[in-house]
Amino acid sequence: MTEAISTTKQRKWQDYFTFCTDHKVIGIQYLVSSFFFYFIGGIFAEIMRTELATPDPDVVSPELYNQLLTLHGTIMIFLWIVPAAAGFANYLIPLMVGAEDMAFPRLNALAFWINPPAGVLLLSSFFVGAPQSGWTSYPPLSLLSGKWGEEFWILSILLIGTSSILGAINFVTTILKMRIPEMDIHSMPLFCWAMLASSALALLSTPVLAAALVLLSFDLIVGTSFFNPAGGGDPIVYQHLFWFYSHPAVYIMILPFFGIISEVLPVHSRKPIFGYRAIAYSSLAISFLGLIVWAHHMFTSGTPGWLRMFFMATTMLIAVPTGIKIFSWCATLWGGKLNLNTSLLFGIGFVSSFLIGGLSGVMIASVPFDIHVHDTYFIVAHFHYVLFGGSVLGLYAGVYHWFPKMTGRMVNETLGKIHFAMSFIGLNITFLPMHELGLMGMNRRIALYDIEFQPLNLIATIGSYILAASTIPFIINVIWSLNKGKQAERNPWRALTLEWQTSSPPAIENFSETPVLWSGPYEYGIDSEPRDSDSIRDLLAEVASEG
């Protein structure tokens, strides 16, 4: 099968349904399949928001509501954002470092093909009674509400976790070992730095989640009492193991998009990235600190006071590297020549809404305040600003930025801008009121609530409908542009990273000859002399003729 592919020049659509080892095919497979799960998770969210438009549980039963919230969280994290980030990483890393493929292509294909069955397994839990204990699955509740639904959930997460570890091994090896010789670690694109930090976290923390879930499975199926207090076990141990993964998971979900934003902003504002090393090292700092903050999810749980203080301090420290990134991005935009296309709009939207999630993040790091808002809608607002306002907007910025490279077609900018406007407005209408709901006393994960909270909930529900509608111009845009979009040139954005040195879409072996690095990834506005290489001269001529 793989031999057949290597003899043809262009990929056929069938190739995307095979065990193909080409990193570009795998990247698209990740992106498209994760979008599919995004729509399912989105439908669940819309059902929940419809339910929450009124205080009574009148649309779905409370049991179904809990199943929906469990699967919404699980799908959005494990089958949407994490694999979508892996999709970008797969597509871009080898191109950015000038390699012809990932370090371990077959492992890579295996890592992808674990995902679809895991997703199907997760969704099929509806047939045996879907899990109802939230994506956190805290025992003893998870041991009491539906054995097989819970076990399906565990198996699905174990599979996705395996996929994530295998992917991380590939990313780290490719980034560290397969760069073209001229590219030292300080001239590789910031997306690679971000993926390095994110993969390190995935490697170190995902296995601990696996340990927790294996023990939970034993409690569930065999009847041991690791986490079951009725038999002398301790549910808090589960929380520690779970959050040792699941807090870093937040950084696994946001770091790749930090990387994407660091690529998108300089290209479209025609300026070098401001503070390359600061942004690169702050990714590593976030990833290191990310490993020692997990118990801030447990400030009201079985965590002694002194430990709460320790985790408060480490959590607050994360604001420093994150702040460096935000300020550096602003400084990158400052004084540039902004080409306000859809990609840059999503990039700026990312900085704007991620900032809100970051500010509320510092607040909830403070123990006395977190005690009040823990497990309320304030937290829901916070992590949706980080994961929707951050990851999802960053993801769209990446899609619009690399769509010409991936497909050879330009996107329709008008539809793209409509998509951006609806997403940005919808996201703020949906999630901003939730801050106030949480502060006033609305707890999360409830199908029924007090009548006093209805007005703000209704606003949030209307906002979520705008969000749902915002995907329509996007889907139309993608389908239309794929067929009718303007043919994309090799380097439509006049970008300097290596993936733009090859054709759009890239040939199967990526580069016709090993690419030559003639400038840093972000040296806009600097006259850098090309080295002796025919391909570079041609490329430069091409760039000049575009002007």
């Binding site: 207090p229 600061a278 009201t300 002194w306 607050m316 005690i371 006393g441």
Partner: protein, 320 residues
């Protein structure tokens, strides 16, 4: 940078500071504060809102300014200035957040200590030592196997001369049951006198619950097999919600109760009425041993209905 732009920056800075300071005090986002500690948490929150508001305005203002001012002119394909960084500026924006989080950490630590968060054991000790509480054997309530680890929010270090109220709180799906250890009253709602410290000993009978008092800015998980503590002193008479904040099953959203902070005389009146009612009932109740009682506690969760009826409450009451 010439002088006019410096002045503009200065004026913008002053306006920004004024707006942040004003908003930090007037955001009106929090519900009423019904205790001294809640007021302190609000002060911390106000400070954080002030800082966040300032940072929000700076960053969003920069973004909007960039979008308006630095737009590419039509036909201009040249690049912007090749500025790759500015070490002093980068040091400044690394140092400022560092100082901010340092200050916030110290301040939070201070307030947490004032709330009694660092020494919940102190309240446990004071609970167990007085002779009048001898009937209450705290260790019996535990599963017995696990070593005691003090968890939760303890007594405020400030001395309070008023006598404390001790209540055992048992969270089960989907209700809170309050057991006044001094008077033996069992109730589905919590009534406490104003300006007296309230010592809550939280237990859970089935799954993890969380005891949340929004107006007191207090929350602590009730964990099966582990007792946790919550101590607070209400300063404002009124009726407040008690909410379960940890997902505990399908009807988690319905697991609510009320906290009534009463004047001292009203509380005494309620106490007397209920002790009478309770002892009248006691005559009709078959005596049950402590061991059976704890069984009843564990059986309670399997009652699938919402709330609990009076019979269950009676059976859960410990024997004096």
């Amino acid at each position: 940078m010439n002088i006019p732009s410096n002045i503009i920056t200065l004026i913008a800075g002053i306006i920004l500071t004024m707006i942040s300071l004003w908003y930090g005090q007037n955001h009106g986002l929090m519900p009423v504060a019904a205790s001294e500690e809640a007021t302190q948490v609000d002060a911390l929150f106000n400070l954080m809102v002030t800082i966040a508001c300032g940072l929000f305005l700076i960053v969003q203002g920069t973004l909007i300014f960039c979008v308006l001012k630095f737009r590419r002119k039509k036909g201009d394909t040249t690049d912007g200035p090749p500025i790759e960084g500015n070490i002093p500026l980068e040091i400044v924006w690394t140092a400022i957040p560092t100082i901010i989080v340092f200050v916030l950490s110290i301040y939070s630590f201070e307030i947490y200590n004032n709330m009694g968060g660092l020494d919940p054991m102190a309240s446990m000790a004071s609970h167990h030592s007085p002779a009048q509480h001898h009937h209450h054997e705290p260790m019996l309530a535990m599963t017995g196997e696990q070593s005691q680890l003090s968890l939760g929010i303890g007594d405020s270090p400030d001395e309070n001369s008023n006598s404390p109220v001790y209540v055992d709180v048992n969270g089960i799906q989907y209700a809170w049951i309050f057991n006044y250890t001094d008077s033996g009253i069992v109730s589905g709602e919590l009534r406490v006198p104003v300006k007296h410290p309230v010592h809550l000993n939280l237990k859970a009978g089935d799954v993890i619950h969380a005891f949340w008092l929004p107006e007191f800015r207090l929350k602590q998980d009730a964990i099966p097999g582990k007792d946790t503590t919550l101590v607070f002193t209400p300063t404002r008479i009124g009726e407040y919600p008690i909410i379960c904040a940890e997902l505990c099953g399908a009807y988690h959203g319905g697991m609510k109760s009320r906290l009534y902070v009463l004047s001292e005389s009203d509380y005494e009146k309620w106490l007397q009425e209920n002790i009478m009612a309770q002892s009248a009932q006691e005559a009709n109740t078959v005596a049950i041993s402590t061991a059976e009682m704890s069984d009843a506690e564990y059986l309670a969760p399997y009652a699938q209905e919402m709330g609990v009826n009076q019979e269950i409450i009676t059976q859960l009451r410990p024997i004096q």
